[in-house]
Symmetry: C2
Subunit: 163 residues, 2 copies
Amino acid sequence: MSIVIQAAAEQDWPAIWQIIAPVFRSGTTYAFATDISETAAHSAWLNTPVRTYVAKQSDAVVGTYYIKTNQAGPGSHVCNCGYIVDENARGQGIASLMCEHSQQQAIELGFRAMQYNLVVSTNDGAVRLWKKHGFEIVGILPAAFQHAELGFVDAYVMYKQLV
Amino acid sequence: MSIVIQAAAEQDWPAIWQIIAPVFRSGTTYAFATDISETAAHSAWLNTPVRTYVAKQSDAVVGTYYIKTNQAGPGSHVCNCGYIVDENARGQGIASLMCEHSQQQAIELGFRAMQYNLVVSTNDGAVRLWKKHGFEIVGILPAAFQHAELGFVDAYVMYKQLV
């Protein structure tokens, strides 16, 4: 597997949208509207963040993530990231690569910590992966996520100090 | 003390700004840029939220709060609020009144829970007050707030289920 992670370009958007749309539509892991428009998703994923990246394998986009400033002013040293891997490219360690990459980028951008605001408690794979990468569950939000299949489930706040 | 809480009108903005600006400038309790412009503050406090209210005493604005949707889609049943009382009107229970009012409004708006994303751990008065109103510390964010006087301090995630 040869994966290259690089800054997302506008021309990557159709491939990014192909990957993230089914995840948003599913309503099982991300707090985006399940019926979000492509325009709104483009703004949220590609324009609003400080940086957006794509993971490419043989020039095909197989994953994407963003880095945002999580809170303003006195909270602006903490960033937030969201990662999505193409459902056809899972199990190859691409999320791990993006997580590591994002931590390096965050440090270079001057962030001191990374916070995941809402990790769905039933998303075992993600919880396990973020723990493996040094993130801790620092908070439990009771019934904070309305899972499309399971109803109201808890969500975790996960956090890692980077410096 | 006769306090009336009502929807904020555009004409209330100058009084709101007089109250919230010193709080943002202080960098001790809120994650807004300490040098935020009045325009950006107007947008964040009055335009972005679902609702913004003012507490009035003899027609003078003595406090203000907003209700926002905290997360989109499957997280959109949880709201977030921010409350600020005029520094000359503190100790009269205005924050308590606004907190109670916000919970009623949130329920009427269809929210099921209220989350405070970043309560500065050194803001003892706020922490005590929110606990009194049924909020629990559900998370501790290590060094997530750069306090203008104390440096990096922890912040709390506080949460209350409303229904």
